[in-house]
Amino acid sequence: MAQYLISVLHDTTDLATAEEMAAIDAFNTQLQADGHWVFAGGLAAPGTATVVDGRHAEPVFTDGPYVESKEHVIGFWIIDAPHLDLALRLAALGSRHCNRRVELRPFLG
């Protein structure tokens, strides 16, 4: 088994609709039932981020995301899958359920 990160890509300030939330819950339940579930979560808007640099004597805190872009990551799943083909199928289902594009990326093995 390998682990993959499915990042949910978002390009507006809209939150998920009630319908989308219900679909995501159903997908999560399915992932758990099939043994693919590791962890998942939604993230607050990029405006709530703080960049922290603790490499020096005094840590420096800077307001805002480290990179300004039209798109950002709004949530993620971490899944267990034996190979990319199955992970791709799960990512496609995840994309359909949350109604957004996703990026699939393997963890270092």
């Binding site: 083909d85 992970a87 393997p106």
Partner: protein, 406 residues
């Protein structure tokens, strides 16, 4: 080159894909597979002239490469883990689909949709076709270092993302096979009209490998019309290979070919496939239409017997599926036979194909037939400047020099 050197070259062509595929199956790692296959051949170059050629060269290469791979894994720092990984991956490499052929698994792995199209072609040519990185780079008109990086990145992604080494499950097959066919067709074309001026004009090893792999895909998906169409297209094209380049190494056009030199067996097989597809009553795709066009050409005993109205009708269907300028250029060539060069030239002139040698070669021929020698000469010059294939260049130079007023 010595006799042994020539033999090693022949064995390389015959055994490369099989060797890489079996190493990939055993060790689950394309890097190790490729490097150890290359090392085994390097050892053969050293040993065979001294020790003599082994009775079964393929088996010798497999044994040598497998030993080298095991030695290398033992030397690795993370030896235990690698060993376990290799064993696990070879167990995971049990055939997922219906056919257990190492080379077909290698093809589906190299043609995985998670890889960019250009990467799929490059990887397939390297791992399955056995082309060198410089050869692939020239075929793609990119720098060798860029091509090398592209292939290295692709292999790293296959490993890290765990792209499975196998034929996909039946439910994933239809979506995956389209990309595989595109790659196989490009390999066939690279063999049929090699793009490299330093190479022989036709590379029968590549066309043969493309046909062999397409046959395997067809055995896997016998009901798929496009798989059958591509196989028929390749067979009907391959049937004319011997007649296509003259003894002096010059391209011979379809109209001038010695039709007695065509391979009747391949033509019969191609025609049977095309007839079976027509009888299915299903709407044909791109490869089936191209195969049908080639069936019309190979049906004619003499070029004068060619049913050009049928060829144009088939091109009309193809244009509806794929209105690209290259399809329209090929349609215009058939239109020239049916309606004359003037009508064809009017269609060709509007096409945005300035950088494509066949566009200028077609214009040159049409202008020649219209008696417009000076314009024809200029078009031949453009075509010669852009053509990469040796036989094609030789043909274009002769036609240019035969123009009136030369």
């Amino acid at each position: 080159m010595s006799d042994v050197g020539e033999l090693i070259t022949r064995v390389h062509r015959a055994e490369w894909a099989r060797l890489v595929a079996s190493l990939a199956g055993r060790f689950g790692d394309l890097d190790i597979a490729e490097e150890m296959a290359a090392e085994a051949f390097a050892t053969a170059v050293e040993r065979w002239p001294v020790d003599g050629v082994p009775p079964v060269p393929g088996a010798w290469l497999t044994t040598t490469a497998h030993r080298k791979a095991i030695d290398r894994l033992r030397r690795e720092v993370r030896r235990e883990e690698k060993h376990r990984e290799a064993l696990m991956l070879s167990a995971a490499a049990e055939p997922l689909g219906a056919i257990d052929d190492d080379r077909l698994r290698l093809v589906f792995t190299c043609c995985h949709p998670a890889l960019a199209m250009e990467v799929r072609i490059a990887l397939t040519l390297r791992m399955v076709g056995g082309l060198t990185v410089p050869e692939i780079a020239r075929a793609f008109l990119v720098q060798e270092t860029a091509m090398s990086r592209r292939i290295t990145r692709a292999k790293a992604k296959i490993k890290a993302a765990r792209i499975p080494y196998g034929v996909p499950l039946r439910e994933d097959l239809p979506a995956r096979v389209t990309g595989v066919l595109a790659v196989l067709y490009l390999i066939f074309n690279e063999g049929y009209l090699a793009s490299d001026p330093g190479k022989e004009a036709v590379r029968a090893d590549l066309t043969a490998e493309a046909i062999r792999l397409t046959r395997l895909v067809r055995a896997l998906m016998p009901a798929d019309g496009e798989v059958a169409g591509l196989l028929a297209l390749m067979l009907l094209t391959e049937a004319r290979r011997a007649a296509r380049v003259s003894a002096s190494g010059e391209l011979v056009t379809l109209a001038e070919q010695d039709r007695g030199a065509w391979d009747r067996e391949l033509i019969a097989e191609g025609h049977a496939l095309v007839r079976a597809r027509l009888a299915s009553g299903q709407a044909p795709g791109r490869y089936q239409i191209l195969a049908a066009i080639n069936a019309v050409h190979t049906d004619a005993r003499d070029v004068r017997d060619t049913d050009w109205s049928q060829v144009v009708a088939l091109y009309n269907r193809l244009v509806r599926l794929d209105p690209s300028p290259i399809v329209r250029l090929n349609r215009a060539i058939a239109v020239a036979e049916l309606d004359g060069p003037e009508v064809a030239l009017a269609e060709v002139d509007g096409l945005p194909l300035e950088g494509y040698h066949a566009f200028h070669a077609t214009r040159a021929d049409l202008l020649r037939r219209l008696g417009r020698s000076e314009e024809s000469r200029a078009a031949y010059d453009r075509a010669i400047g852009l053509a990469g294939n040796t036989a094609e260049t030789a043909y274009l130079v002769r036609r240019r020099d035969q123009l009136a007023g030369a």
